[in-house]
Symmetry: C2
């Protein structure tokens, strides 16, 4: 894992907090943004990064998090529209070299990609894993 990056994680839900914890333990400088202060409770006690309370769709909040200096931005809120908007701003306005976004609706992946945003769709990923699990049935059942 990379260990010397300035990384901004948008959204401190289960996914965002997990990533922030892992990326922080790996030695990166991590800033987490969430509009709900209580969400920071998902961070581990060892998290050594910064917390910014605010709505990431507001430029002032992104500037406070120093998005212009970020090596990587990861958008993980529950709302595809928010992730899309923030990812677009990170790319276009703040020239962030690498932007990853969670997108629940795979139909929007194409829009993200055109903007240079890498998308990860949990539903698609889970579907592929379910399909593989279906194929890998135990031998005893394979001969039923």
């Amino acid at each position: 894992m990379a260990s010397d990056l300035y990384i901004i994680v948008i959204g401190c839900g289960r996914l965002g907090a997990y990533l922030a914890n892992q990326l922080s333990s790996a030695g990166n400088a991590v800033v987490v943004i969430d509009r709900n202060e209580r969400a920071f409770g998902n961070l581990s006690p060892e998290f050594s990064g910064f917390r910014v309370e605010g709505d990431a769709v507001e430029s002032a909040v992104l500037r406070q998090a120093k998005l212009d200096q970020a090596d990587l931005v990861v958008a993980t809120t529950r709302k595809d529209n928010v992730n899309l908007m923030v990812a677009q701003v990170a790319k276009v306005v703040f020239s962030v070299p690498r932007v990853l976004a969670r997108v629940f609706n795979p139909k929007r992946e194409e829009i993200y990609r055109r903007l240079g945003v890498e998308c990860i769709c949990p539903t698609t990923v889970a579907a592929e894993i379910f399909l593989r699990a279906t194929a890998a049935r135990p031998a005893a059942e394979a001969v039923r």
Copy 2:
């Protein structure tokens, strides 16, 4: 992929419908259960399986879907509690050989596993993929 199984998919949202479509095209006999008839609109026109409208937490609905004859049950509703309950019933009451369940809260995975249910948590899976994506940054950025 397995192609001669009797498979029951609980929940016809994006994940359930995707799995039902794929498993049906692969030649399996597939039954999809959803309590909302409109959810079946997610199925592809080529889907050759059966639709059962009803709440999967009701045994009568599961009997209608012939759960006792299923080789595989996949629980994909949005509610962990529903997936847990249906998976448990499939295992214990209907003796289904293989049961897969989506679980959003990874803390519940242990409970499922003890019941012999295989769990797939989209959040955990997405997190791992995000972390790998973070590590695999382009060479040009690696030397910044």
